[in-house]
């Protein structure tokens, strides 16, 4: 079974996204409410998550910063990260693409197809 870590400072969005992935794909979900907690959660999770779904705009440490810190940790650097963002301006999109994340998905996401979109972006065939 796949294990996904969701990092978002909005509790409601964590809950909806978790429920959506559990109900539609049957994945196991771990959540964290900040970038720092997310890095801890990813490190403590045994086995490490198959993928991380992370918000871009978070107080203190934003998504891109958290991603860069994860890349410096050899244990976490291999986990594919998908940024989930409410920013759809072209400038922002290009900035995210340059980071080297696995994919960028947009809010508001469709709860019924979110798991499919993740599979498609990561090339998962399940």
């Amino acid at each position: 079974m796949r294990r996904i870590l969701i990092i978002d400072d909005e509790e409601d969005i964590r809950e909806v996204a978790a429920l959506s992935l559990e109900a539609t794909a049957g994945w196991e979900i771990v959540t964290a409410s900040s970038g720092a907690d997310g890095i801890l959660a990813a490190g403590n999770s045994k086995p490490v998550p198959d993928a991380i779904l992370m918000d871009v705009m978070m107080p203190e440490m934003d998504g891109p910063t958290t991603f860069r810190m994860m890349q410096q940790n050899p244990e976490l650097a291999g986990i594919p990260v998908i940024l989930l963002t409410a920013k759809v301006q072209g400038v922002d999109q290009r900035r995210f693409a340059d980071l080297g994340v696995a994919a960028v998905l947009f809010k508001p996401f469709n709860p019924l197809t979110l798991a499919d979109q993740i599979c498609e972006k990561l090339g998962w065939k399940d």
């Binding site: 909005e10 429920l19 539609t24 409410a86 920013k87 508001p108 996401f109 469709n110 709860p111």
Partner: protein, 459 residues
């Protein structure tokens, strides 16, 4: 000359038309009407005032643009965040994945879901329109096949048409299928699918919606025609305004946002075209035959539609930037607005080209203006400008600085240059500034000696 685009399209026994050739005609007319600015001292004084004014205006506009950009980005984020939770929660509940809900509750969930989707579309459309109208979403021009684009639009809409039991057809009245034009294919598709989907939504079951293509050497036209309830004559123009629908209940019943046609108009204007609605002959209230046999007749379009296109330019512009990417963007933007463009990658090249073009004048045309980057390897913008202005051959060519610096950071350049555009620039600002500079040049050009003296004195 860039391409001319005429798109005729019809909604509800009506046609919506786009027209490009008008722009050129209008621009020529405007130029003819320009008057001599007057005596030397007056010109000098005015150009000084203008430079001062321009300096302030530029600084103010770029501050405003930045503030607006940030505001839009923030609003977009703040609205989407709660909508993400609402859409997610409603979607999961109404899907039945979490257990069944009774029929009445399900109906309420459906209402909430539909309206959430509508709100999301509305936010997307508002942002789309805002970005386009502020010039922050420039069109990416590519050579496109008119027939292929039209076919793609029809294919994209075929599922919707089938569900509504509407027959969708495409007809070409052009002499051949190989019609190519420069356009942003995604944007043109957005326009066509929007018009087609409108036409389908407002058509009676079993009727036909057609997309008609026509082209001659001057213009392309696209027409979307349906046999629906029609647009009242007094609404033919206002339907292109924001939140204007024929009936106030249309947005809730038909699922539109009220911004679709405003977006279409914006896209077509960015392409130098024109869009309008026209009643079909069976309405009989306007004397139109619907067929775009002579798209050059300007009276059928309202002046409001034509106004943004009046900036169309004419003349040879030398664009100098060491970044080939920026040169390409500027070149495409200028060409699209009627200018001819030559490029230079360095200050040395600018001076060589300016001298060459001015000396041999015929058969190659003289340079009307130079767009000059400030940070250049080798001879920088300032040194290039000094050399141009101190040579009798090139002193009269107006120079517009295109720089990341603001005019206040480079006071020396301001005194020498005739115009200033700060990078990152927006397209309309560039065209306005270039148009202004060329216009003031046209005002004094009648006496070449006179013009030269003006330039020297300004320098």
């Amino acid at each position: 000359m860039s391409f001319s685009l005429t798109i005729f399209s019809g909604l509800f026994l009506t046609c919506i038309c786009l027209l490009g050739v008008l722009a050129l005609r209008l621009a020529r007319k405007v130029r003819q009407q320009e008057r001599d600015l007057g005596g030397l001292s007056q010109t000098l004084e005015r150009s000084r005032e203008h430079a001062e004014e321009q300096k302030h205006r530029l600084a103010e506009r770029s501050d405003l643009d930045r503030a607006k950009d940030e505001f839009i980005s923030t609003v977009s984020h703040e609205l989407r965040t709660p909508l993400t939770s609402i859409r997610g929660a409603l979607g999961l509940l109404s899907s039945g994945l979490l257990g069944n809900v009774d029929a009445r509750a399900h109906n309420l969930l459906r209402i909430a879901s539909t309206n959430t989707e509508r709100l999301i579309r509305l936010i997307n459309d508002i942002l789309d329109l805002e970005r386009m109208e502020s010039g922050r979403s420039p069109v990416n021009l590519r050579r496109c096949s008119l027939v292929d684009l039209s076919r793609e639009a029809v294919e994209m809409m075929s599922a919707l048409a089938e569900a509504a039991q509407i027959r969708l057809e495409m007809n070409s009245y052009a002499a051949h299928d190989a019609i190519y034009f420069d356009a942003d294919p995604d944007r043109i598709l957005q326009v066509l699918t929007n018009l087609l989907s409108n036409a389908i939504k407002f058509s009676p079951e079993g009727s036909t919606v057609s997309l008609e293509i026509d082209a001659n050497t001057d213009a392309l036209s696209l027409k979307v025609i349906d046999r629906g309830r029609g647009i009242p004559v007094d609404k033919l123009e206002s339907i292109f305004d924001r939140f204007q629908q024929v009936e106030s209940t249309d947005s809730s019943k038909k699922g539109g946002t009220g911004l679709g046609l405003a977006i279409c108009r914006s896209i077509i204007q960015q392409h130098g075209g024109l869009i309008w609605a026209q009643p079909n002959e069976s309405w009989g209230q306007l004397d139109h035959n619907g067929a775009p046999t002579n798209p050059g007749i300007g009276d059928t379009a309202s002046p409001r539609e034509i106004a943004p296109l009046a900036e169309r330019g004419e003349g040879l512009i030398l664009v100098c930037d060491d970044d080939p990417g920026i040169r390409t963007v500027v070149r495409e933007q200028l060409r699209r607005h009627g200018y001819d463009v030559i490029e230079a990658g360095s200050g040395e090249e600018v001076i060589a080209l300016a001298n060459e073009q001015t000396m041999r004048n015929a058969p190659s045309p003289a340079i009307s203006a130079i767009l000059l980057d400030h940070y250049l390897p080798g001879l920088n913008g300032w040194e290039t400008l000094r050399q141009l202005k101190s040579s009798a051959t090139t002193a009269a060519i107006p120079v517009v600085i295109l720089s990341v610096s603001s005019p206040s950071e480079r006071p020396l350049l301001v005194g020498e240059a005739q115009g200033w555009v700060q990078k990152p620039y927006n397209e309309s600002l560039l065209l306005d500034e270039l148009g202004r500079v060329l216009k003031s040049k046209a005002g004094t050009v009648k006496d070449p000696k006179h013009n030269l003296r003006t330039s020297r004195l300004t320098a």
